[in-house]
């Protein structure tokens, strides 16, 4: 297919762009295969480059022959384009609609994007499972890397290599996989160096209504327990929801069959509920006509902050079991690709200082989200403005955004313990939904391999790990902190993530200025201390070189 077929009017002059808190710009609107561009010819600084993939939905309005297109983006921004001429406006609108909802992944921008920067380190090779296993091997010999899933046959959403207990053979894994939702048998998620406890994740066991059991599954997870030790199974669903799952062939581990494990149920909502929540929240944030009561009641009714609290509470619980109780943990919900990953990745942020570094966080996203089979493509196909009218089965959900929100909450409570700043989290949010990089394309390692993303697209990590970018994303307040950090989950301690939800609804001038000032203070002090040290050295050298001079 040629993009040109979809672009009926590639160019319109005299288009006016209106954005809140920014000056109105008049210029020429151009549509390319992947971008909507508005350029004011007098001044090149006022250019808008918008990826079609970033467009969540558009609305058209007409007053006489003046058409208006309201563009609502996945990064939550809303812009308005006034287009003279009814026909031009209709053409532009239909082109945008077609280009922003392309079905084929291989037509997405990452396949056409050529980097304008020198790739120093290919991000596709930065975080290979083999490498992270080497780290594990240096700490323990109780685990092995299994290639049972080499051809993605045992589990379609797992990577080819997974870490499993050394004493469990591939045959057992295959049988356990048959007993778990979508073949997601329990695999290692995190090894806690301090006490050797582990966190595993999986899909729900397929016990069904008649309480099926699977010896191999029991063997597999028991193999992770030290002699005489008990473990915890954290089911991210309420007991009622888990019960209902039995009717559809799912279920949970019965205490009789897993006597060494204690099961705890938490209440993280399913993805469809999360999507509703996002839509309501963003609607509340964008409606400026609210009075205080209406705002608070809409914020409450959106339940977004409730989800944040639930997820963080569950992650704290998992971390607590491991660090405080000295117990191993298995986490699962239904599929094990959403709430499970939120919990396992947040628990690692709490427990492991490496995950709070820029590279460590990338590794975590790679390991616990991309490799672990979070269906990014499906979840991020629409954002807060997509009402999913045309879609058959709704599968979009802000699961990853909620995870980032939770990380932001911890970052806010421990502002000096993260090597990266809020900017990094916002950047990941943006790129998960629309990007020139291939990192978040596809739903699993298998799909990514099939799309040959590593050959055909550039990795986001290639860009992020360039020194200048890493510098921009780094947190000036960072002081490495090797401790476990326990966030507060009291409602008073959890705030609305303004950096994402209020980003376009207010002027950021004063906040940006404050951030720059903070950086300035810290940088100046560093310079000063360096200068003092070098002067001290000079002085010391002079004094030892020429003791006479001193007494002169």
């Amino acid at each position: 297919m040629e993009f040109a077929e979809l672009i009926k009017t590639p160019r319109v002059d005299g288009v006016v762009l209106r954005r809140p808190f920014q000056p109105t710009v008049e210029g020429t609107l151009c549509l390319t295969g992947h971008h909507l561009i508005l350029s004011s010819r007098q001044d090149n600084t006022e250019e808008l480059w918008l990826l079609h993939a970033n467009i969540d939905c558009i609305e058209k309005r007409f007053v006489g022959t003046l058409g208006t297109i309201i563009v609502k983006c996945k990064d939550l921004r809303v812009i308005q384009l006034d287009i003279p001429g009814m026909e031009e406006c209709l053409n532009i609108a239909s082109s945008i609609e077609a280009l922003s909802t392309l079905d084929s992944v291989s037509l997405m921008y990452p396949f056409f994007y050529r980097p304008m920067f020198e790739v120093i380190e290919d991000g596709w090779n930065s975080f290979l499972p083999e490498d992270s296993f080497k780290d594990l091997e240096s700490m323990t010999d109780e685990w092995r890397l299994s290639d049972v899933n080499q051809d993605y046959c045992v589990c379609a959403s797992y990577p080819p290599l997974v870490a499993v207990p050394k004493d469990v053979d591939d045959d057992t894994l295959r049988k356990a996989a048959a007993f778990r939702h979508a073949g997601r048998f329990p695999v290692l998620s995190y090894y806690h160096k301090k006490n050797g406890m582990v966190m595993m994740r999986s899909g729900q066991p397929l016990t069904g209504t008649n309480g099926r059991r699977c010896k191999e599954d029991e063997k597999l997870i028991n193999a992770t327990l030290r002699a005489g030790k008990r473990g915890y199974i954290i089911d991210t669903r309420t007991i009622a929801v888990a019960q209902q799952a039995k009717a559809r062939g799912g279920g949970f581990e019965s205490e009789a069959n897993y006597p060494q494990w204690r099961r705890i149920h938490k209440a993280i909502e399913r993805s469809s509920v999360l999507q509703e929540s996002l839509i309501k929240l963003v609607e509340a944030c964008n409606d400026q006509s609210h009075n205080m009561d209406r705002w608070l009641s809409k914020l409450e009714a959106s339940n977004w902050q409730t989800h944040v609290k639930e997820i963080l509470t569950t992650a704290c619980l998992a971390a607590q079991c491991i660090d405080r109780e000295g117990a191993s943990v298995l986490v699962h919900g239904t599929e094990g690709t959403d709430s499970t990953l939120q919990v396992t990745s947040l628990a690692q942020i709490i427990l492991d200082p490496t995950c709070r570094t820029i590279r460590g966080f990338q590794a975590l996203v790679e390991r616990e989200w991309l490799q672990a089979g979070h269906p990014f493509q499906q979840r991020c196909v629409q954002s807060a403005y997509g009402n999913g009218s045309s879609v058959k089965v709704r599968c979009e959900a802000p699961v990853f955004l909620l995870f980032l929100d939770c990380v932001w909450q911890i970052l806010r409570q421990f502002p000096c313990s993260f090597q990266f700043s809020e900017h990094f989290l916002v950047l990941l949010f943006e790129h998960a939904y629309a990007s020139q990089f291939g990192t978040f394309l596809g739903n699993s390692a298998a799909e990514r391999a099939k799309l040959k993303l590593s050959q055909k697209t550039v990795s986001l990590w290639s860009w992020v790990n360039r020194p200048q970018e890493a510098q921009r994303l780094s947190n000036p307040l960072y002081e490495a902190n090797s401790l476990v950090i326990w966030p507060s989950v009291a409602p008073q301690s959890l705030l609305l993530w303004e950096g994402v939800f209020l980003r376009w609804n207010r002027s950021s001038r004063c906040l940006d200025e404050a951030y720059e000032e903070m950086v300035h203070i810290i940088e100046y002090n560093k310079e000063l201390q360096n200068k003092v040290n070098s002067l001290r050295r000079q002085l010391a050298e002079l004094e030892t070189d020429d003791p006479l001079q001193h007494t002169e």
């Binding site: 705002w295 609290k309 307040l477 609804n505 203070i521 000063l528 200068k531």
Partner: protein, 592 residues
């Protein structure tokens, strides 16, 4: 002291407010001024000090398995739950605290006992540290439009006002006297803030005694005089900060609001801030939300909404913004009142002043503002804070709301204020602590009668001495006289966890950016000192500077160091960066 029945109780438990964590065990002491709990169950000596006057309520609860619970809630929102082993001791402590927290007489307040080791001169000078009358001079008074009058020097015109009042130059004496008679409690229209740039003025007063139809020519003349004192506008605003319904109800009692037909060129406006009783109840509900044990997010947000607290904060802020915009953008003058003009009016006028004038965003400026708009204009601190045993219906968190509005502004303008959150919290503490004389008494006349300036200390020099802690490291005074135009969309108002849950450290961020930056500022001062010192030594070695004795004779800090006191602006940081670069060549000294 006679009220202390049992000065010391051992084996007292201090419970965690929210969780069933193991309680701390220790000894409870009662002194003349404080309640002190010293933890004995831990290795490090942990102490909790509560000043008696901070105690708002003491509550005895029914016997539990471990003893007799005693719950104490403080005016600074500190909440402690003790369990006392014996009933008699519990009873004793309870009764003592009731008497000690709210004495019957003002003379029994801590301020009259408090005696830091300072001599009489220091004390007297301390009271002169902030002079609100000086602020009129700063605004440019007297000028061709405004002057200061001593018509109230014996508090005959208005007993609750300060003795020096700013009035329009064209207002005749009988106009002033007549207007005072027509205003509730004689609180005539008087200048609160004069905005040099626009000639717009903010004036304040109490409600007129207009009833259903009464009018007063002098009062009308007075408003006309205020309006004419501003050549830039043909009209002036009269803002009644009450909800319209309340104002109308007052008419039946012979009070009310201005009839726009009787006054020429006024634009009358209600802004709908609720009265002290609504505010008191709202705070009560807010504190109930704060006290909930493991609430869900829904419980919390619903509770926050139902308390109405943020709605009231927004109402005050909206009114302040309205005033500031009228003055700065429309160049109009504004006359503000509520009923008596000492609660809502004080909130709104002081907030507008902060928006309009950068001076009030400095450490000293806020002192001046509080002194001027609150203390000298008769905000009834004794009653609103419940310093002594009195009518609980007079207690209301009016001043706390003002501080919260300032905090909200600080959140929106992180570089706009010289002071930080700690400063607001410390002021709030001292408003209630009664350790200093400033916030005792309901008006200036009462304070003079009590001879507070002879018997107590002023809080301002004390805060000034500790100003290092209160500095906002991000402050940029380069913002200058920029008028602040905050957004008052509901989503910009946050719950002030630092105030209402200040003592629940678990809820605060575990690392504080503010503390981190304050430490850096401290290090910077030391670093700069060291650098100059090293450079001087190197220069001596190089022979650039002749000898060290001449250097010593100079006052070293003054000439070589910038003042330590105020936050360095980025501008002077720039200059210092240049000095680094300039002095860098000394590195070559070794080659000589």
């Amino acid at each position: 002291m006679e009220h202390i029945l049992t000065p010391k109780v051992e084996e007292v438990q201090l419970l965690d407010r929210y969780t069933a964590k193991k309680p701390a065990i220790g000894t409870l002491y009662l002194t003349a001024t404080h309640l002190i709990f010293v933890e004995t169950s831990c290795n490090t000596r942990k102490e909790t000090w509560i000043i008696h006057h901070h105690i708002a309520t003491v509550e005895k609860l029914p016997l539990t398995g471990t003893g007799y619970p005693l719950n104490i809630s403080c005016k600074n929102f500190h909440v402690v739950h003790f369990v006392i082993p014996s009933e008699r001791y519990c009873q004793d402590v309870y009764h003592s605290l009731l008497r000690l927290s709210q004495p019957a007489k003002l003379e029994d307040l801590f301020a009259f006992l408090y005696n830091p080791k300072q001599d009489e001169d220091d004390r007297r000078n301390g009271w002169g540290f902030i002079d609100s009358a000086m602020d009129f001079k700063r605004m440019g008074l007297p000028n061709e439009f405004w002057e200061l009058t001593d018509l109230n020097k014996n508090y005959e015109l208005c007993s609750t006002y300060h003795s020096e009042l700013g009035i329009p130059k064209t207002a005749r004496k009988d106009t002033v006297l007549g207007s005072a008679k027509f205003r509730s409690r004689g609180r005539l229209p008087t200048l609160s803030y004069y905005h040099k740039e626009s000639n717009g003025a903010i004036c304040r007063c109490s409600q007129p005694l207009s009833g259903i139809s009464a009018r007063c020519l002098e009062d009308e003349e007075m408003l006309q005089a205020i309006s004419r004192a501003n050549p830039n506008s043909t009209f002036m605003y009269v803002v009644d900060t009450r909800p319209k319904l309340n104002a109308m109800a007052n008419r039946a009692a012979g009070k009310g609001y201005e009839n726009a037909d009787n006054y020429s060129n006024i634009r009358f406006q209600f802004v709908g801030i609720e009265n002290i009783h609504v505010m008191r109840n709202s705070l009560q509900k807010l504190l109930e939300v704060c006290a909930m044990k493991s609430p869900t997010m829904s419980d919390y947000l619903t509770g926050l909404e139902n308390s109405g607290w943020l709605r009231h904060i927004k109402a005050v802020m909206d009114a302040g913004v309205f005033l500031a915009k009228a003055v700065a953008d429309e160049k109009a003058s504004v006359l503000v009142h509520c009923s008596d003009g000492w609660d809502r009016t004080a909130q709104v006028c002081s907030l507008a002043s902060i928006l309009l004038d950068n001076f009030y965003r400095t450490i000293k400026g806020l002192m001046v503002l509080i002194e001027k708009e609150w203390i000298s204009m008769g905000h009834k601190f004794t009653q609103r804070c419940g310093h002594v045993d009195g009518d609980p219906k007079e207690v209301s968190p009016v001043f706390t709301q003002f501080l919260e509005c300032v905090w909200n502004l600080m959140e929106q303008y992180p570089c706009g204020f010289e002071y930080n959150e700690k400063y607001l919290l410390e002021i709030h503490n001292h408003v209630y602590s009664c350790q200093f004389g400033n916030f005792i008494g309901n008006c200036q006349r009462e304070r003079e009668e009590m001879r507070l300036k002879e018997k107590t200390f002023s809080v301002w020099p004390f805060l000034w001495e500790n100003r290092q802690q209160y500095i906002n490291p991000l402050y940029k005074c380069s913002l200058g006289r920029e008028v602040l135009r905050p957004s008052t969309l509901p989503l910009n108002f946050k719950f002030w966890c630092g105030m209402y849950n200040h003592f629940d450290k678990g809820m605060q961020p575990k690392q504080s950016i503010l503390d981190h930056l304050l430490t850096i500022i401290q290090k910077r001062v030391e670093g700069e000192k060291k650098m100059t010192d090293f450079q001087r030594k190197l220069a001596v070695m190089d022979g650039v500077l002749a000898d060290e004795c001449t250097l010593k004779s100079r006052p070293p800090e003054q000439t070589l160091m910038p003042p330590v006191s105020v936050a360095h602006t980025s501008k002077n940081m720039q200059i210092k960066e240049e000095t680094i670069i300039q002095l860098a060549p000394t590195a070559g000294s070794k080659q000589i």
